[in-house]
Symmetry: C3
Subunit: 481 residues, 3 copies
Amino acid sequence: MSKSTNLKVRLPVLVLVLEVVILALYAVFVTYDDNTNAKLQNNETDPMQNSLYRDYPYFADVQVMIFIGFGCLLAFFRFYGFSGMVFNFLTATFTIQWAILIQGFFQFYHDGKIYLGVINLLNAEFACAVVLISFGAVLGKTGPVQLLVMALLEIPVFSLTEWAVLKYIRINDAGGTILIHMFACYFGLGVTFVLYRPSLNNGHPKETTSYHSDILSVMGTLFLWVFWPSFNSALTFKGDDQHRAILHTFIGLSSSTITAFALSAVFHKRGKLTMADIQNVTLAGGVTVGASVDMMISPVAAYALGVMGCTACFFGYKYLTPFLAQRMRIQDQCGIHNLHGLTGLISSIAGICAILLASEETYGPSLYQIFSHRAPPEGDPKLLELQELIPGLKPGLGRTAQEQALYQVAAVFATIAASTVGGLLTGLVMKLPFMAAPSDEDCFDDELFFNTPPDFESVDALKNLISLEEKEKTSSVNTKV
Amino acid sequence: MSKSTNLKVRLPVLVLVLEVVILALYAVFVTYDDNTNAKLQNNETDPMQNSLYRDYPYFADVQVMIFIGFGCLLAFFRFYGFSGMVFNFLTATFTIQWAILIQGFFQFYHDGKIYLGVINLLNAEFACAVVLISFGAVLGKTGPVQLLVMALLEIPVFSLTEWAVLKYIRINDAGGTILIHMFACYFGLGVTFVLYRPSLNNGHPKETTSYHSDILSVMGTLFLWVFWPSFNSALTFKGDDQHRAILHTFIGLSSSTITAFALSAVFHKRGKLTMADIQNVTLAGGVTVGASVDMMISPVAAYALGVMGCTACFFGYKYLTPFLAQRMRIQDQCGIHNLHGLTGLISSIAGICAILLASEETYGPSLYQIFSHRAPPEGDPKLLELQELIPGLKPGLGRTAQEQALYQVAAVFATIAASTVGGLLTGLVMKLPFMAAPSDEDCFDDELFFNTPPDFESVDALKNLISLEEKEKTSSVNTKV
Amino acid sequence: MSKSTNLKVRLPVLVLVLEVVILALYAVFVTYDDNTNAKLQNNETDPMQNSLYRDYPYFADVQVMIFIGFGCLLAFFRFYGFSGMVFNFLTATFTIQWAILIQGFFQFYHDGKIYLGVINLLNAEFACAVVLISFGAVLGKTGPVQLLVMALLEIPVFSLTEWAVLKYIRINDAGGTILIHMFACYFGLGVTFVLYRPSLNNGHPKETTSYHSDILSVMGTLFLWVFWPSFNSALTFKGDDQHRAILHTFIGLSSSTITAFALSAVFHKRGKLTMADIQNVTLAGGVTVGASVDMMISPVAAYALGVMGCTACFFGYKYLTPFLAQRMRIQDQCGIHNLHGLTGLISSIAGICAILLASEETYGPSLYQIFSHRAPPEGDPKLLELQELIPGLKPGLGRTAQEQALYQVAAVFATIAASTVGGLLTGLVMKLPFMAAPSDEDCFDDELFFNTPPDFESVDALKNLISLEEKEKTSSVNTKV
């Protein structure tokens, strides 16, 4: 069994193959876009108007979330901190370079080339967030080869779904609630369903946190919390739309956070705070405002959404996660269904309400910019009228609010279906024998894949100190299923 | 006694009540401002001119300081890392949503509504910094209910003081030395005076740091250090004023830092460096340049202010903090009087000197923009003349430099008075029996309010190792009083 | 011996002298530049056009790299975390204030004054990066007095070299590969050659990492990784040049990172991942793309450079570092020769190839902006023609691509020569008896210069647990020589 998890050949061969493929595809297909091609600059180009200055600040903020926020957050296990942080680093790095290509074919491809600028990287980061959220479902129970394979397969399924939903169903989803959070969630649940390990339902001795790993994980939460407004607003329209997206995200996170503290205390038998709640449930508001984040929902609605999302997320951790594990064979390690699925559902419903309530009275003519599919179609005289009020308004599909709402519903179901099927199939591939999956007893242990430092032994020795009494204390750690 | 610190009912009830109040007030009063309201955008609106792009970068930097900088810095106690970081998170999150409302009524209220944009959030963050600084005085000796109550009461007192000083006394205080640092300091000292715990004057066995908590705390210092220029310049005029604010803050911090190292070594009996000095005293320069941060004080003056502020802060920790604790019943846990009070005093004096020395020779006509109260009043022919040189110059009060200097002095005294009284009264409320204040022996211990991980027990066991010899070693930790 | 490392007098006296010198020089020479001088603003000044808004975002990103990225990365030793992080803080802070002066005399001096704005700080940060890289060669074996002296001497040598190369040889080196990375590397090697400690070639019992220090160090890597695109692009032309620099850096780092994982696994005898590789080798791509980072090299070339640089760096750690230590008396503690020297060499060659291949066909007229020395000289009619296409194009030297390539080669050799000689001489000064150098047995130990917390004793006690078996495990730690 120890032979089958050895990375000495598997990982390098996989990486080498991937690199050769990526190199070849970059060589043939990837070139500079209008903002990065020196030849296209002329005496009318104002360098400060380069798209870089609109995109890079948000790209950098999301980078911090991906590499440092997720990295620290996923390092919450006591004996699995190296793996949590470092596999996140590996998976994220591979995913972005892969998504540049695959998304590139779907979104930035014409005349035989993928055109590259920071905007592609920003889009690829969102694809990367999808993979990292799915990763949360199988944290501790998968090796690096499996994770690379998951990324390899998830990105095409995601890019196809994203492209199909945006091109054919055409939805409003500025914060990526449906396409990012819900897709990632159900894909991850599909994977973990296939990778079900019955013996882990009884808990695992190493499935625990330490004082330092809990603090590290809170730091990850704080980085995610601080930069979430950038995440939710990175791909909105510039101007007041982006401004509202930032406001709403901040307000939703704030109300979500204090709610999480209250719930954590009231449902602990001695009224104490549980770190897992603070690490995860506080963030629910960021997802919950997503689908309507750029709309005129009013600040108080963002506040209420934060409270609702947080509450759903909390009870999900408390009741749904154990139920899924024990009855449905779905072991959702980090509880992504609570933080991304339940909140995503609430967010989608809120988005639909916001769409149904949207009127020219509230939005003025920019209604047709935000809800671009409601804009009159090409040739409609109302379009010309609106274009005078909003220069550059693009023709839409002339949808009514009700029609748009139905398309949103369709998108939710389509996304759930595509991601679940994709996740199940990907899980089957990840289960193949040469994927270096850890054995049940080697789960949650850095020793398996890392050359650990001398003190890891002594840390390890402390495991013997975990008495029954202390085991009981860990019962509220979010990873206990 | 253990019953009285249980959060199971108290914290959720308080949070619930606060949320209902905030929801109601947001619903009735809070709406979008001109930069976030879709309806107000028209064909003359350039989205890239939205105020978001001027305010958000500074907002994000201050967010990092508040949540990560303060969070890590306050996690310096060995057995109180969860509490330091997490109570900071809770307090900050609540404070900002509360300050949006209260400051909103004072500063952004007209026609029955509070108008909301990122600029309100930025102002609320400064109010939040005030509460977190005050928190430093009582760190380790207060529970989350007390902290929320402190924030609940401090914000109105602060907002009222800020409004009254800016509206009636009208001062120059770009870096917030008087209104933020000095207010926060004397409010915190007022609170801690009321919460005096005589038994803690003899030290507490858990009032100590660990190797990891010290490193974590230095990381907090570094985040504060790096983003302090954004803090000091966030609310200055744009252009050269903000540019100078950033320069001066950086220079002041730099000279302050190397001074702190020198003083730390020279006053340790074996010439060693003390981490508490590096965590705190290095930052003194950032406060000391505050009151004159946007003025033409010259780079060398910023350098000298950093050295002076650092020196005062260092000796404050060494002599004044123990004196205050033992003779004045003021237990200033993190030494906020040194880092914010003494430096604030120096900064105020420096600001007054800079005001007295300011002349048109140095500043040109923009003298009347920076020192806006010296601008000629409405109707003065000189105003029209100046408005040709500086379009958009607002009419002022026609004050002389001497008059302005006197107003600055008045503002310092008014702020100290208001904050001290406010702090004393708030302390009385926080002392009420149902506030879940920790008992003396439960201070500085995460166990009281947190569900700690299994290894906290073994960490705890190490407490028995703290011999007399080791106690002596902690004598220079800043928390020893 | 213990007397000779006492900082009580030495450090304060040195800092005091430096501060007096700096204060005097700032007072006499440093004034505000056009963007920070209030007097130069008039009714045609648009505050939002102030250079601050172009420079500050990159300055802030590099600040995070310098203080937090380097700080955490250098804290990777188990018993030397305080020193790694805190000496980095001290050295960086001093270096920047010193570089503002010294670089100021070379680059920003006219009419008897150094003109100061954030752009000077940004340049000084690059000088600071040079010193911190060199510091990596002697980490653990030098005290703070030595480090300050190193910075004191390295900055003038660096500034002179930088000035001479840019003014007389005139090269393309947007990412600072030659002037920053290679200079820093060979200077550091020069210093460590002089400070050779034969006894450390057999390893040192404290030259080891811990579980927590390894994680902290990865966090440092992640901060460097995330903000490296800002570092490599901070001083390029604005617009498409900067945009390409960001793209290439990101792509180079990405391919470098996955390559590092593959190499780490394949060369470990049991196929495990080594943290030292993840902390260092992953970053190689950032240096390797440096010299051609703003050119039209195509995305695939950036990808390939990342792979090549990473490979060279990895084998450097594996074979070259031990060879240098045992045969050449060059103990390169952090392996800077691998991460900055070998990659710098590859980058320089790639830069030369890119220069030789650059044509108007690919770049259009902006060829003469990026390769500014190839622009026609003053008076050439072709210059006027080009200036119509690119307003503001400066006259160049009319060099051919081949000529420019030769100058690049000259610059590489000149930089290596100057830095090596400078490093050797600086090493001699640092070896003087009153420099408080730690004895061999006190290396890698915080105890020597820090007032450590009580649990450091117990951490220390764990040292006895380091058995032979565990020693073997550390054999792949990058610090083992």
